[in-house]
């Protein structure tokens, strides 16, 4: 490799490094350092090395329950967003003949995202509440006598809000990878007598894998790192990993919060690594 190429390589990664080092690497190093020190319990840090913060975390069954709750939401959200995202993308790529209309519809998918996450989440509350549109509608028609309480302030409403917020993160990469599938491959398969199911199973699904994997990385890292949707939509009825250490920060327990944050970062990294193990995105994209 000539020095010239080396230099160009470094220049290429410079913008990314300029963002990542001050806004990710340094803060996470600070968090890492804080997770190993002692505190006076009221915001003061003593530069004394300790493993207590981690020991407390791993000895507490609260940690397990928090991860169980957060993982449950992550998996449910992944399931629904990937199914919905896949079919939306499939429709746009293979059923809409005109490229222009497909692009237009694709942009329409992003319309709800012109407003904030919070607004989109909160707007479910008047719909799902005890005296909300759905319950009053169903009661009006006479299908139910008592309002359905599971609709709001439940795991159900949390998943609804997540799916609504995050499906676009599935649609975009899946749309992208599907759009790159050569249509003549599908035609050839049809000519060779393949059924629709075969085409789906043997061509489209395998060739959209990288899109699904990318979407899964977005969804997993967002849901694992969220606390606000859980807090509002569950009516405080359940907690999340981040929510728990946010409250630690609230009472100035920095080291335990830092230790939780580090563990969460590692868990998310492991999940992402697992996804990448199943699908080699790098290889698929450069194909």
């Amino acid at each position: 490799m000539s020095p010239g190429r080396n230099l160009v390589g470094w220049l290429n990664v410079t913008p990314l490094l300029l963002v990542l080092i001050p806004f990710f690497v340094i803060p996470i190093c600070v968090v890492l350092a804080v997770s190993f020190v002692e505190t006076d319990g009221f915001g003061g840090l003593y530069p004394v090395f300790t493993l207590d913060n981690y020991a407390m975390l791993f000895r507490s069954d609260l940690t397990l329950r928090l991860y169980a709750a957060t993982l449950k939401f992550t998996l449910l959200t992944l399931l629904f967003t990937s199914v919905i995202g896949f079919w939306v993308a499939y429709f746009l790529v293979f059923h809409v003949r005109s490229k222009l209309i497909a692009m237009g519809l694709f942009l329409v998918c992003t319309v709800p995202f012109w407003t904030s996450n919070i607004v989109r989440m909160i707007s479910w509350i008047p719909l799902l509440g005890k005296e909300g549109l759905i319950n009053t509608g169903l009661q009006g028609v006479g299908i139910i006598n008592e309002p359905l309480e599971f609709l709001l302030f439940s795991s159900f409403s949390v998943v609804v809000a997540y799916v609504h917020q995050l499906t676009i993160f599935m649609i975009v990469p899946i749309f992208n990878s599907m759009a790159r599938i050569d249509k003549s491959v599908v035609e050839a398969a049809l000519d060779a007598g393949a059924s629709r199911l075969d085409i789906m199973r043997m061509i489209i699904l395998p060739m959209s894998r990288s899109g699904i994997a990318l979407g899964a990385i977005f969804v997993t890292s967002i849901v694992m790192g969220d606390f606000f949707v859980v807090k509002v939509m569950s009516g405080g009825g359940t907690a999340s990993v981040v929510g728990a250490f946010y409250e630690d920060v609230g009472v100035l327990q920095y080291p335990t919060a830092a230790a939780s944050a580090i563990v969460l970062t590692l868990v998310v990294m492991l999940l992402v690594a697992a996804i990448l193990r199943v699908v080699d995105i790098r290889k698929e994209i450069t194909q």
Binding site: G43, G236, T238, G243, V249, G250, Q253
Partner: protein
């Protein structure tokens, strides 16, 4: 010319708005220089939204001639900012327990008691720790507990009045329960109603661990389930008993939802999700403005149980303030105590530490309704002029004296806060 005179004439300059004329009348022309100098000053007053209010900052800026920026954060974000980025704040809006932490961490400077003009008119709650001849509760951190410090740069509190204050109290109130009288069907005067099985699936509780646990403790104590040595500083055992009972209630489906913000509590009640929940007085009023009946429970102390959970916010001066900016900060504090702000917060149900100045800025009818607990002689409006109550309404919980003398504990941060937080999360995830 003394400093005192200097200030007076500057006020006149600003008030009349006829700078040149007033300066001509002033022998040395100093006010103009001061007015020029302070024009570029900006005070950043940071704190929770119910205490740091934009309309108040705007009025202060108008009256004082320098810029005031109000910035809102939630309770935990505020204390974190005061402690980790003290230089980004000028005036820290502090609750008692936050003042205690801020002093320990050395991020605030003492406020000279004798420079607080209305100090002599402060209610004895703040200067003697008593009110109407009785000591105020010292469970939790009362406004008296963490109000004074040893010296200007001290990192320890002083028990009782000293020359230096940690903060100047500006707004306080007594929190209890809000309920729908039409659905509950009887008057609520005891905390135990909140955990009564008859409200299963229709109750709500505050989900800010540090104070939610105190509301829960008031309920447990009222129902005779747990008795506490000090609800404001529980032992691990007391925390365990309280949380275990909360978990049991949650598993039985008792709580429809919890809430963290003012608006959430209003929505829960207004949308019919809950019939009874721990609630703040102005939130109850906000529900009523929507034409939905809602009552603020008068939980007067009895048999060593019940009582309101009190809180108080005050203004602390950050350590970095000096020179003209520090002068401006004192001006700002004194403006707060001069009545306009006291009247403003009173109009949504909070109280001023110097009711005598607030009274001057309120109509007789307003004072009768908000402070004296009398039937409103005329319709009552909120600080922005929105109609709130028709003539004849009596305020829930009665007069100022009835409410404040019945505070049985104050917002706090317990010694076992870390443990309590962990247990509170057990409750959340159960």
């Amino acid at each position: 010319m003394t400093k005192e005179k200097n200030k007076l004439s500057r006020r006149q300059v600003l008030k009349t708005g006829a700078g040149a004329a007033a300066v001509a009348a002033s022998p040395l022309g100093a006010p103009l220089i001061w007015a020029q100098e302070i024009k570029d000053i900006e005070l950043r007053h940071v704190g929770v939204s119910y205490s740091v209010v934009k309309a108040i900052g705007d009025q202060a800026a108008k009256d004082l001639g320098f810029k005031v920026t109000m910035q809102n954060l939630d309770t935990s974000a505020s204390i974190n900012r005061f402690i980790t980025q003290p230089n980004t704040v000028d005036i820290a809006d502090l609750e008692g327990w936050q003042a205690k932490l801020a002093v320990q961490r050395g991020v605030i400077q003492g406020i000279e008691t004798k420079r607080v003009k209305e100090f002599d008119n402060f209610l004895p709650i703040f200067t003697k720790g008593e009110f109407e001849g009785a000591s105020i509760s010292r469970e939790g951190i009362s406004p008296y507990e963490a109000l004074y410090m040893e010296g200007k740069d001290s990192t320890s509190l002083h028990d009782g009045v000293s020359d230096w204050m940690t903060n100047v109290p500006q707004v306080y109130n007594a929190d209890s329960i809000g309920y729908r009288p039409d659905l509950v069907g009887h008057e609520v005067t005891e905390w135990k109603e909140l955990i009564d099985p008859k409200f299963s699936g229709k109750a709500g509780i505050l989900d800010v661990p540090a104070i939610g646990i105190m509301d829960a403790a008031l309920c447990m104590e009222s129902a005779g389930i747990v008795s506490y040595g000090n609800k404001g500083n529980m032992t691990r055992e007391e925390i365990d008993m309280t949380i275990d009972k909360l978990i049991e209630l949650k598993r039985a489906g008792h709580f429809r939802s919890t809430w963290t913000t003012f608006d959430q509590s209003v929505q829960l009640m207004a949308a019919g999700e809950v019939e009874i929940q721990s609630m703040w007085s102005p939130a109850v009023a906000a529900v009523r403005v929507k034409d939905i009946p809602c009552t603020y429970a008068a939980v007067n102390k009895k048999d060593g149980k019940e009582g309101y959970r009190g809180w108080c916010n005050g203004m602390g001066l950050m350590k970095h303030l000096e020179g003209k900016k520090l002068e401006a900060a004192y001006e700002y504090i004194n403006w707060y105590m001069s009545g306009w702000q006291g009247a403003f917060v009173s109009r949504y149900g909070y109280y001023s530490p110097v009711p005598s100045t607030a009274k001057k800025h309120m109509s007789a009818a307003e004072y009768a309704y908000w402070y004296e607990g009398k039937p409103a002689p005329e319709p009552i409006t909120d600080p922005y002029g929105v109609p709130m109550e028709p003539a004849g309404t009596v305020r829930d919980g009665g007069s100022f004296i009835d409410r404040v003398t019945n505070i049985s504990c104050w917002n706090t941060l317990m010694d076992e806060a870390a443990y309590m937080n962990k247990r509170w999360n057990d409750f959340k995830v159960a």
